[in-house]
Amino acid sequence: MEAFEYLAPATVAEVYSHLGNGKTTLMLAGGTDVIVQLREGRKRCDQLIDLKHIPELVAHGFAGDGTLIIGAAAPLAELYEDTEVQRRLPGLVDAASLIGGIQIQSRASLGGNLCNASPAADSSPALIALEARLVIGSRDGTREIPVEEFFLGPGRNALRPNEILLQVKIPPQPAHSGAAYLRFIPRNEMDIAVASSGVRLRLNAAGDRIEGARVAIGAVAATALVVDVSALAGRAPDAEAFALAGAAAASAATPIDDMRGGVAQRKHLASVLTVRALNIALHRAMEAR
């Protein structure tokens, strides 16, 4: 591994002070991606900035309005072990609890998973389904964007020079709604998604009609994709409706053929996973009533 300088600032302002000094800079959160990328020469840097000494970046909690605010460097395990998070956002727990093994989840963060911008990242479709927004900061202030706008391509995200990802915000979920995330891998753990689907289903009070649905699919294009499932609105939450969503997911998918999966396989899985995730979401929506 090439030598680099290690910095552990205590405040965000201090982070900014280290940026724009001409040095190649990488941020260190859980390190489960970046340390390996540096070791294998897939990335290099002059300085590595450890964000874990900044309290607001490693904390998570619900704001008064019910928005969950997650520090970009907060470890996944702390997130999904929070019983309140489990109760309110099972769709987020689905994703957070299957990124890597336990050892990875002890360290890895949502922020790192997002910034790494892998098309197969487990957190992206789940967060898109939940309408998460990202808080991005720089010396000049902060801006917020919907999570789906963050991904520009494999390994490329919307951070501008000297910007860093500060927080992930998940708004309170609508009444009578349920969300779920599923991925397919050849093994049962420790694997990269061949295809994945994050969904949220919103029902009417009676629970017999779909008010709205969100579907996002992963590992089937250069970035996670939002699937247009507006056709589901007004329909009964049944197999027929879910099959429509599955078909929409399959046709939206534009996957590549690589050692992890084939084109036809991935399109097919996008549909299968979307239908299965919708069934789980339906179950959760009904339970929540």
Partner: protein
């Protein structure tokens, strides 16, 4: 447990804690990478980015000038080697090829082929210097697949290689086919002409890796007087000593190889890769040097097992298998020497087949030189045989195990070498499978199926040497030279305790270096508990004889008036005269000095081992994923010395077989680069991917061993490939003839996707 005519043992068959256990659960055990010598520095190896290229030049000047670099190495530092086969203990090597595989000279033959090495005080600095070595290549077309490599117009790995066959040269032109062989018996044409059923299928299996968790690592210290010590992770310290001596043209007596604890081998730690490199880096730098591989190096540059192509045609008449014709082509990797011969010799072993013709082709391709992997050659061959046997049984509407039972080989059945089997436990194993709770239980539910398959492995004998020194407190130090990969210290100590009638706890086994014991062949071929166990038995009998002599002296009677039994001695003509083992040991100083038992032998009578496996699977038709629901492995082990470690060997072999069947494979891109050289993308089973593996131990004692031991470690990996394919066929109606049966392949087949 089915047991046939087994004597009553006091130690054999119990489950004591292994002698090396505490050090291994407390992190104290010293594995290859754990050694730290004063002044030690770190070596790293530069590897080829190309699958096939001529090396035009290697410029190491910038690396030599890199701050902190203490030694740089290329093939120029290796002695020129002769291009001929050498016999080395149990292994045969072409020294030129072995040397070229350690550091490439004229050509690189696979991605990852070692080219140069450097040493520095920090491994990071060594890596910085590697980046500064400039190599000019003339890139050549690569050939990766065994069938492509066999074509007339295929790129040649070695323009001077012709096809050999049992010492003769068979081809007019140079070829990638290194060797052809044939096994023939009876009249296959007549058998096929007169058959009720004939089935012909083509099978392929992918190159897979042993997947031991500890990467190769070697530490060497070269002294000014030419003496060389190597601390390494190996299945055979004496083999390493011999190979290093050949490659470096250095006297064996000047080389001491210290076997560190080994983090798995499965056959993959029989060859050497780093030891000569560490030795020469040490010679050049004057420091002890530790050289280790990364996981990617392990995948790209150490011997996996062959990818294979097998065409098999089988005839049956009535309920009998009457004829088999097969052509087996195995990838040898960059240099000749696949296990295709063993595959052919094992594939029909479970059956009594009189008419057969098996042709084998050993083929070089631009992949790493293959190495042994647990029952080398047999699993892929059994995948073909057992799949077709299953299909024929179905066509004949005979239960697949009953069909195997009707056609089973037994004592005096002749195998494909024309050789008669000694006492074997094939039928007993099949009976135990037929009567097992698993097989008697129905399999129900949609997308579920059951499969069975049998398998055979020869097991090895070879050379072993042990010394057992009796201490005056009655305890015994057992000195052995067999690497302990999976509990052999325990199985050998137990056999000595049984022989002497003493407590297991009184025996302290130790595995020593090549200066401290006579030659021991590798821990491989499932030989250690069998062969070193035989040596341990003879060393024990040597101790008993010495004790009888001394007791006779003490009691002033003749030796034949003294009997040794139940760990003590007594005088036949005077019942007052009795001594326990411990009491007599205490008197050794007064009865002629230390009591030391010794034995050195070539173990004969290795009994072959048979296994039959039963597996239930569920196939998800929407994803193509195969889930193993239940697995039972039945195996004749001769005598289970330590049943827990016997079960462990079986369970481990089965799970490796599950990985081979379902997900493991080498993915190469067009340029010949392996694209899944990590534990993330080379998908070995995790704890969550497999159920508990039930074992049924059958004991048909091997008449060739004092305690009836048969090799255990290898045969468990032979049946799973076919057993799972047969189960998937039962569940889906689709028969898979290409491994792995990955979700993608299953889905594409079931849903007709493409």
């Amino acid at each position: 447990m089915t047991t046939v005519e087994k004597p009553a043992y006091s130690v054999i068959g119990t489950r004591p804690v292994r002698p090396d256990g505490v050090e291994k659960v407390t992190g104290k055990a010293q594995y290859g990478a754990d050694i730290r010598l004063s002044g030690m520095i770190f070596g790293r190896v530069l590897r080829s980015p190309h699958a096939h290229a001529r090396i035009l030049s290697i410029d190491t000047s910038a690396a030599e000038a890199h701050p902190g670099i203490l030694a740089v190495l290329t093939y120029r530092d290796l002695p020129a080697a002769e291009d001929k086969m050498e016999e080395l203990g149990e292994s045969n090597i072409n020294v030129k090829e072995a040397s070229d595989n350690v550091l490439a000279s004229d050509k690189v033959l696979y991605r990852g082929h070692a080219i140069a090495a450097v040493a520095a005080a920090s491994p990071h600095v060594a890596e910085e210097a590697l980046a500064k070595i400039k190599v000019e290549y003339e890139i050549l077309p690569a050939v990766l697949d065994v069938r492509d490599a066999m074509r007339e117009d295929a790129p040649l790995l070695n323009e001077r290689r012709f096809t050999k066959s049992m010492g003769g040269v068979m081809s007019e032109k140079p070829s990638n086919i290194a060797a052809h062989n044939q096994f023939k018996g009876g009249d296959i044409d007549a058998a096929f002409a007169d058959a009720d059923v004939v089935i012909e299928r083509e099978f392929t299996t992918s190159m897979v890796h042993q997947g031991y968790i500890e990467p190769q690592v070697s530490t060497a210290s070269w002294n000014a007087d030419g003496t060389l010590t190597i601390w390494t992770s190996t299945q055979g310290a004496f083999a390493v000593r011999g190979l290093v001596a050949e490659i470096l043209r250095h006297p064996v007596s000047s080389i001491r190889v210290v076997p560190m604890e080994i983090g798995g081998g499965f056959g993959g730690k029989l060859p050497i890769y780093l030891d000569p490199v560490a030795a020469l880096l040490s010679k050049k730098s004057g420091r002890p040097v530790k050289v280790s591989m990364s996981r990617t190096d392990v995948f790209e540059a150490t011997g996996p097992t062959s990818g294979t192509h097998i065409r098999l045609k089988m005839a049956a008449k009535g309920d009998r298998i009457t004829g088999v014709q097969a052509v087996l082509s195995y990838e040898a990797g960059a240099y000749p020497g696949s296990a295709v011969g063993a595959g052919a010799m094992c594939m029909l072993a479970p059956y009594n087949v009189e008419n057969f013709q098996l042709d084998t082709y050993d083929v070089v391709v631009n992949r790493p030189k293959t190495a042994a992997y647990r029952a080398p050659g047999a699993p892929a061959a059994a995948f073909a045989t057992e799949s077709v046997v299953d299909e024929i049984a179905r066509q004949l509407k005979i239960d697949p195990l009953e069909f195997r039972r009707k056609n089973a080989s037994r004592q005096d059945t002749r195998n494909v070498m024309g050789v008669a089997f000694p006492r074997i436990g094939n039928e007993e194993t099949l009976d135990a499978a037929i009567n097992s709770p698993h097989y008697r239980a129905p399999i129900e539910g949609p997308n579920r199926g059951r499969g069975v398959a049998s398998g055979f492995w020869f097991n090895g004998g070879m050379q072993s040497s042990v010394v057992a020194a009796v201490n005056t407190d009655g305890t015994i130090n057992l000195v052995e030279g067999s690497t302990d990969i999976g509990g052999t210290r325990a199985s050998l100590a137990m056999q000595l305790a049984e022989t002497l009638g003493v407590a297991y706890e009184t025996i302290r086994p130790v595995v020593v270096d090549t200066d401290s014991i006579g030659h021991n062949d590798v821990t491989g071929g499932s030989r250690t508990t069998f062969a070193s166990g035989m040596a341990v038995f003879e060393a024990g009998m040597d101790i008993r004889r010495q004790m009888i002599t001394r007791a006779a002296k003490l009691w002033s009677c003749t030796e034949d008036e003294v009997v040794y039994e139940d760990g003590g001695l007594r005088c036949l003509k005077d019942s007052t005269k009795e001594l326990t083992f411990k009491e007599l040991a205490a008197q050794s100083a007064r009865t002629g000095g230390p009591i030391v038992g010794k034995a050195s032998l070539i173990a004969r009578g290795a009994g072959g081992a048979f296994a039959t496996h039963i597996v239930d699977v569920e196939v998800d038709p929407d994803t193509g994923k195969v889930t193993i629901l239940r697995y039972t492995a039945v195996q004749d082990v001769g005598t289970a010395i330590h049943p827990a470690y016997v079960e462990g060997q079986i369970q481990g072999g089965v799970v490796q077989g599950i990985g081979w069947a379902l997900n493991e494979e080498y993915f190469y891109d067009e340029s010949g680069r392996m694209v899944n050289s990590s534990f993330l993308d080379y998908r070995m089973p995790t704890a969550l991917d497999v159920p508990n593996i039930d074992t049924i131990i059958v004991e048909v004692p091997n008449p060739g061993h004092p305690y009836g031991v048969r090799g255990v470690g290898e045969v468990p990996i032979v049946p799973p490939l076919a057993a799972i394919a047969n189960a998937v066929a039962d569940a889906t109606g689709h028969r898979f003839t290409a491994l792995p049966m990955s979700p993608r392949k299953v889905l594409e087949a079931l849903d007709g996707l493409e």
